[in-house]
């Protein structure tokens, strides 16, 4: 059951989205018997917008950092579309991506590479944004398959976005429907080259054009019931 939020929250967080039960302000009784008020959107989330991370003070150091970053790719194990199925052979002995120094992690806070593995429904997009924002900087996004590029075979769907880079900064796209594990490996190698060259600036781009990304995200996510930046 939902209800409008006017009397529950003020202003800038959300304009007209209904607020879910668990996000509403309420009284909670602690284990010590003391009652206190909780306002989840304020208390559970950080409201600070992301900031641009400056490069290291010297070019050589930054180069060293970039080399290290390129060799430290941790994928968030979050499959969004059909393409996720190709990650199974990739993370197991058949294609064994681990020998390239690429590994999967179960939580966004332990990963820095988000592989959007195919079509993205609006419902999933919301979870993707939340996960992306929780990943530590610097972070990278790889778009897998035609669906992330131009909608692929879901170009006329009522519920899947057609262009990923409207909503998140994308470093590399891998074409195919679906791309084979070899294509993914090639894509990861390409991403490494990009990062090593210091061009993996997605997180900074996101911080710089934050308002633009947020506006795009909100245009499609109609029940925006979270703060603008949640990490």
């Amino acid at each position: 059951m939902t209800q409008t939020n006017e009397d529950l929250l003020d202003d800038d967080l959300i304009e007209h989205a209904p607020v879910k039960e668990e996000l509403r302000r309420r009284l909670v009784k602690g284990p010590d018997g003391v009652e206190f008020e909780v306002e989840p959107l304020r208390d559970y989330y950080c409201e600070a917008p992301p900031t641009v991370m400056p490069a290291a003070y010297s070019k050589i150091i930054e180069g060293l950092f970039n080399w290290a970053r390129a060799e430290s790719l941790w994928i968030l194990g979050f499959g969004t579309g059909c393409g996720a199925i190709e990650m199974r052979p990739l993370m197991t002995p058949r294609f064994d991506a681990y020998r390239y120094g690429i590994q999967w992690r179960p939580t966004p806070r332990q990963s820095n590479l988000f592989v959007i593995s195919g079509y993205l429904s609006v419902k999933t997009l919301k979870r993707v944004i939340r996960s992306y924002e929780q990943m530590p900087n610097p972070k990278y996004v790889v778009g897998l398959g035609s669906c992330t590029i131009n909608g692929g075979m879901y170009f006329d769907s009522y519920n899947t976005i057609t262009r990923l880079d409207e909503y998140l900064p994308v470093d590399v796209y891998i074409t195919g429907c679906m791309p084979r594990p070899e294509a993914l490996l090639a894509g990861f190698e390409e991403l490494k080259r990009i990062v090593r060259a210091g061009k993996g600036e997605g997180a900074n781009q996101y911080a710089e054009r934050f308002d633009w990304y947020k506006a795009n995200q909100k245009r499609v996510i109609h029940d925006w019931d979270m703060p603008d930046y949640n990490w």
Binding site: M1, A17, P18, S121, V122, K123, K126, I149, N150, G151, F155, D156, S157, Y158, N159, T160, I161, T162, R163, E166, N216, R219, V220, I221, H222, D223, W224
Partner: protein, 181 residues
């Protein structure tokens, strides 16, 4: 095999026509009031204990929504589908449909989906008004055939310019036989 069952059922309930698809799969059209008694009879007497799916078809030309209740009999390895026709106009105006979640609890999920995707209301079904797949949907239910998905997608999702669509048959022909042989 299913024709026999149909004849038997016909003796007890007023039924519409039978449409046989395979020896082990047939569909029966029936009046809405007969749905529950027939479902109960099939479930309790004939061994159709599994509700495989509950779905709808939008026959916009005939002003109808068709509900299909597909049942499976494990022992007999056979399926039977019951079709109920609803007036499309009445559904759009909010006419309710009876819920069968008390016969199969899984039906509640299907009914929730139908409510969201076709706008067919099952007022008694638990949680039927909660968002299912769509969140914050503002248009008419998207599975209705008068909803133009391409137009909606183009207006909503910033399509990337330069996309081309090709007829697969023509495209492959041109690829494989470039000289038109």
């Amino acid at each position: 095999m299913l024709r026999e069952l149909y004849e038997q059922l016909k003796g007890r309930f007023p039924l519409g026509e039978l449409s046989e698809k395979r020896p082990d799969l047939a569909f029966i059209t029936l009046p809405r009031e007969q749905l529950r008694p027939v479902l109960l009879h099939l479930r309790d007497q004939e061994g159709f204990t599994h509700l495989v799916l509950l779905t709808a078809v939008d026959w916009i030309e005939d002003d109808r929504f068709q509900l299909t209740y597909l049942l499976h009999d494990r022992q007999g390895a056979r399926d039977i589908g019951l079709r109920v026709m609803l007036s499309r106009q009445a559904v759009i105006e909010g006419a309710p449909m009876e819920s069968i979640h008390d016969l199969w609890p899984t039906a509640a999920t299907y009914q929730r989906e139908l409510r969201e995707m076709f706008g067919i209301d099952f007022p008694d079904s638990p949680g039927v008004n909660e968002d299912f797949i769509l969140e914050g949907w503002r248009e008419i239910p998207p599975y209705r055939r008068d909803f133009d998905t391409l137009k909606y997608s183009n207006e909503t999702f910033a399509p990337r310019p330069g996309r081309e669509s090709q007829d697969p048959a023509q495209h492959m022909k041109a690829q494989l036989y470039p000289d038109g042989a």
